[in-house]
């Protein structure tokens, strides 16, 4: 066999074997990887819309997905807004839970962030940031209290306490929350957030 044909044969064989091997690995792991992703989303929805037993994706665009959280009978309990926005370093992705009327925030969960550890990364911390989002009135756009108030009682109903030393990260989350709420409201008014299936109302 000449050298060039031997080269071709060897390369093709290596390529085909590798491809075949990978496709079996790909199929073996595919479901599990998809399941992992789905579970993560589900967990976050249950966290921000308490009592959710099933959920449905109602609207999807780049950087914004809105899920409806439903109870066992399939009645809507609230919306879970999965949104991504610019942070201090890189993008921040969170899940925001609201009531059906979009007037009250149940809670906020940060899913992905690459903020500065020890400063901006405190947005994932319950004590310094997330607790200010629990049960918050959001009929008005939310605003940031800066410099930070020393006790939560000083905050007005639509105010969120700033993380000391991480104003930009706090602001980044706030801005994305506000804009995604505006967008969600618009969609709801346009009647685009409807449950599908037999329990739709």
């Amino acid at each position: 066999m000449s050298l060039s044909s031997r080269m071709a044969v060897v390369l093709t064989t290596v390529g085909v074997l590798a491809g075949a091997f990978l496709s079996s690995i790909g199929h073996l792991t595919k479901e599990r990887i998809a399941l992992n992703k789905q579970r993560e989303i589900e967990k976050a929805i249950i966290q921000v819309v308490p009592g959710t037993s099933s959920n449905q994706s109602l609207y999807e665009e780049k950087k914004l997905t809105i899920y409806g959280g439903m109870d066992e009978e399939g009645a809507l309990l609230g919306y879970a807004i999965h949104a991504t926005g610019a942070g201090f370093q890189d993008e921040i992705t969170f899940m925001l839970g609201t009531n059906i009327d979009l007037t009250r925030i149940n809670s906020l969960a940060i899913l992905e962030q690459k903020e500065t550890p020890g400063l901006g990364a405190k947005i994932t911390n319950m004590e310094s940031f997330l607790r200010y989002w629990e049960n918050k009135d959001c009929s008005q756009p939310l605003s940031l209290r800066k410099p930070a108030a020393s006790s939560p009682e000083e905050l007005s109903p639509s105010e969120i306490n700033t993380i000391t030393g991480a104003t930009i990260s706090s602001e980044a989350v706030l801005n994305t929350v506000n804009s995604s709420l505006v967008k969600t409201r618009e969609l709801k008014e346009d009647g685009k957030l409807k449950l599908e299936g037999k329990n739709a109302r």
Partner: protein
Amino acid sequence: MELLAIFISAVLINNFVLRYFLGICPFLGVSKKIDSAVSMGLAVTFVMTITAVVSWAINHWILIPYGLDYLKIVSFILVIASLVQLVEMFIRKVSPPLYQALGIYLPLVTTNCAILFLALLAALKEYNFLESVVYGFGSGIGFTLAIILIAGIREQLDMADVPEPLKGAGISLIVAGIMALAFFGFSGMIK
């Protein structure tokens, strides 16, 4: 606006060298002289921009439609390797002076992790075509900027009294560390 944000972020905030630690090998290897740093930077920028285009095409027209996600790593690396070969041959044909300047750096680019990372990250971030191109170009510029800055400092370091064991890679890494610290000042530029 979005495109400008991607560009600035790639050059300054999420600089490939100083934040993602990519391309450290050429970074340490060819950052002794400003001239060679410029050539290396240009070669990388050039290949990165083309890689962004080609990897986007492969990802959107082949891998995603046919559900071949598991072939991503293999196909990207093979494409990058052959692309560098093609670019090398092309430049040698059309512009011998450019080949003289970039020639020896091009093969080095293949094994530069920055290129593969670029292809993977653009796919991960689900950038569209234009965004991918801007991201590739910006990342290349960011690499060039970092490597030129370091080369400038290293030229001066030759005259400094560096402790013997730290000479070479050691002091370069420490300089890179201080520069990474300085680049932190750019964080938060994009809102």
